[in-house]
Amino acid sequence: MSEDTAAVPAQKQTPPVGKESGISALLGSAAGRNTGLVVALVLLCIGGVVTAGDRFADVDNLLTILRLAAVIGVVSIGMTFVITGGGIDLSVGAIVALSSVWATTLATQGIANDSHWIVMVFTALLVGGACGLVNGALIAYGRVVAFIATLASLAAARGLAEIISNRKTQIVNVPGFAAFFDASVLGIPVLVVIFALVAVGGWVLLNRTTFGRRTFAVGGNPEAARLAGIDVRRHTVMLYSLLGLCCGLAAVMLIARTTTGSATHGGLYELDAIAAVVIGGTLLSGGRGTIAGTVFGVLIFTTLSNVFTLNNLSISAQAVAKGAIIVVAVLLQQRLARRSGA
């Protein structure tokens, strides 16, 4: 289940007996699954050190990995909620693009220059949240299958981003904005700090609040959740809106990192986010989700890209490796599910 099950004092659970004890039991527990991810990450780092030496094990390089992970990480945290709640969202990359474009139009930047750069942040959040709201309403009240509804949003949002930006890259020249996001807190880049805050907030929300508990219920058995008195449709709308907000935030971070807004931002984010969530151990069919797993998933993929890039391997080779990781992770997950289930 979720990681908070692992935090339960163990005295109430009878220890596993016989053959099931030891390594397989460890792997079956939530903590154990994260151990698997930690091991994978450590192996990748060792691979990086061996093949790229000091170029990999360099503070600047490690911070680069984290800065890259931060943007997709924020989207993946939101995606964890949607998938745990039994949904899927293919439009996240497009929403990031649209938010980034809307927040960097000449008009928005003009207002921001006249008042405060925070206007850009709010614009992106608003656009992202609104897109999520539309997705959620279509799915919950319009009864459109999530896959189709968000596929439609993907096309529409990216198209709209292209129209607004006229397919041009929009450079940011609001002074306070760049300065704020370029800064570091105790040596840690602001972007990474934001990611950490979102991850911690997401963990608390999923594991310690009624909102999170309802998410598990809605994803695990929507009919039972409805009869138990949960407003499943309203909750679904909230889940997609939350993910939309995360996309808006990711757009802000992306603008800061690239100093541009563009309709091409966030390409294939939907695949990266879903992949990170799934290899982290969240069940695609809903009802089971883990934030820590997602964070590891994101770090694994980002580190992988970094190691490949340092070794001058092509993007195509990266894609193949990513695919392999996903398959292995899903196979492993099924074995664990079978052991704890049937």
């Binding site: 289940m1 099950t5 007996v17 099931e20 609040t209 009624t210 309802r214 598990f216 009869l227 289930g341």
Partner: protein, 507 residues
């Protein structure tokens, strides 16, 4: 080969069977034997290991230790197909049909009729028709999608599937739980026909009356072990069976009831309720402290009535009032806010979050009472859940267990605990004791009575007429979507209720 002549004659004999799951020993040494042509009943409390035993016998689980002999030979059924080929057919407690496939496809799933690889669909349909007729169900079409059938009809399809195998041993795990008395009678007719042909039947049920009627010999399981085997089903005393099963003596299954105060306020008032399809003109009034029972056949519309009162189905006509305030139609939210709770009929699809911990299943409807500013107090949740699961004797204990690993009856207790925890004004219980053993059933009755005494209005739907009469203060009989009788429970008896229920039915 075998030492005793009795075992040599047995069709199936089992010795020292052990099956472990992570953290639980489901079977800790089971011995018994089944003879050709007999009905052998398995009795035991919830979680005693009955379902696990038949899953091992039918090849769905592999045993960890022990020996199974089939016609005197030691066998190992590696999978259900191997068992089927040897002539063992099983109907599982949790239905195992494939929704989306037709009735006929389900009946012949895994042993499809074919010629040179081409399926003989007309033949499969014809044989399915014949099997359903034999089970007294002309109303089920072989072409219907199984997912759209009621639970009772799905149970009939599983039985047809088991019969289609033409086995030598037929195993039935609580087949009567979802059937009404008439259907049980037909089922018994079929069982007698089969045993006359030398087929052996293993029959599991928590209803002792059924076991006396159909059984030849009884084996009692307790905590995964055989505590008695080969008891004569008709002669053995009920008290003896209960004390073998539970290790204690139980004198009174139903709690005492005090007369309902006629001046007590009317909490739930339903007027002229209709859904435009299954039922119409339903009036129902429940006072504080009153338990009202709805008797009727499976499919007579009782569950639909409850679900409509609760707002889970939209009413076409009529009103529902709680404490004098009319509820918005078709809104579960409104009903829940007014203090209503529904314990649904199908625990698996409508009730449980199977992959989640017991305590989370229990508190899901009362989360706000454990939350401060949206943050949940896990510790309090566990503590309250632990109390309830102890009261209901959920086994194995431990509220952090995943519900999927519990036995059927224990899962039912978890669903019920959810609604006992929530402090409702009106509690609607749909088949609250389905699959629950005798001992725990009396605990449940006791708890329901306590709730009523504290001023809750309770409505109970049950196919078990004895249960309705024993538990309720007032009984409503529902036939084909109409209320045909409404009166105090102590002014009517079982046979009168059955007459009312069946009236107008072809014999």
């Amino acid at each position: 080969m075998t030492s005793s002549p009795a075992r040599a004659n047995a069709l199936l004999s089992v010795q020292g069977l052990v099956k472990r799951f992570p953290g639980v020993t489901a079977l800790g040494g089971v011995d018994f034997d089944v003879r050709a042509g007999e009905v052998h009943c398995l009795l035991g409390q919830n979680g005693a290991g009955k379902s696990t035993l038949i899953k091992v016998l039918s090849g769905a689980h592999r045993p960890d230790e022990g020996e199974i002999r089939w016609r005197g030979e030691v066998v190992e059924f590696g999978n259900p197909t191997a068992a089927m080929r040897s002539g063992v057919a099983a109907i599982y407690q949790e239905l195992d049909l494939v929704a989306g496939l037709s009735v006929a496809d389900n009946v012949f799933l895994g042993h499809e009729l074919s010629t040179a690889g081409f399926s003989r669909r007309a033949e499969a349909r014809r044989r399915t028709r014949a099997l359903l007729d034999r089970l007294g169900h002309r109303d089920i079409s072989p072409d219907r999608d199984v997912g759209r059938l009621s639970v009772a009809h799905q149970q009939v399809v599983s039985m047809a599937r088991a019969l289609s195998l033409d086995g030598q041993l037929l195993i039935m795990d609580e087949p009567s739980a979802v059937l009404d008395p008439d259907e049980v009678r037909v089922l018994f007719g079929v069982i007698r026909e089969l045993t006359a042909q030398g087929v052996a039947v293993i029959y599991i049920s928590h209803r002792l009356a059924e076991i006396r009627e159909i059984g030849d010999r009884v084996t009692v399981l307790k905590d995964g072990r055989t505590v008695a085997t080969g008891l004569p089903a008709r002669e053995v005393k009920t008290s003896e069976l209960i004390s073998l099963m539970t290790g204690r003596v139980l004198d009174n299954v139903y709690p005492q009831r005090a007369p309902v105060d006629p001046a007590a306020p009317e909490v739930l008032v339903v007027r002229g309720l209709a859904d435009g399809d299954r039922f119409a003109g339903v009036d129902l009034t429940v006072r504080a402290g009153e338990v009202v029972g709805l008797a009727g056949l499976v499919g007579s519309g009782r569950s639909e009535i409850l679900e409509t009162v609760y707002g889970a189905r939209k009413a076409a006509e009529g009103t529902v009032e709680v404490d004098g305030r009319r509820l918005r139609r078709g809104s579960v939210g409104a009903a829940v806010r007014a203090g209503m709770g529904l314990c649904p009929e199908e625990r698996k699809s409508q009730g449980l979050l199977l992959d989640q911990a017991v305590y989370r299943n229990i508190t899901v409807s009362s989360m706000s009472s454990f939350a401060k500013f949206g943050f949940l107090d896990d510790r309090a949740e566990r503590a309250r859940s632990t109390k309830l699961t102890e009261a209901l004797d959920v086994r194995p204990a431990g509220v952090d267990r995943v519900v999927r690993g519990l036995s059927g009856g224990n899962q039912q207790k978890v669903v019920l605990a959810r609604w006992l925890l929530r402090e409702c004004r009106v509690l609607l219980l749909d088949e609250p004791t389905r699959g629950v053993d005798v001992g725990a059933r009396s605990e449940i009755y006791e708890l329901v009575r306590q709730l009523a005494d504290s001023g809750v209005a309770v409505v109970v739907v049950s196919s078990d007429v004895e249960e309705v009469l024993g538990l309720a203060d007032r009984v409503l009989v529902v036939r084909e979507g109409r209320v045909v009788h409404d009166g105090p429970a102590d002014e009517i008896d079982e046979s009168r209720v059955l007459d009312l229920v069946m009236e107008g039915q072809p014999a």
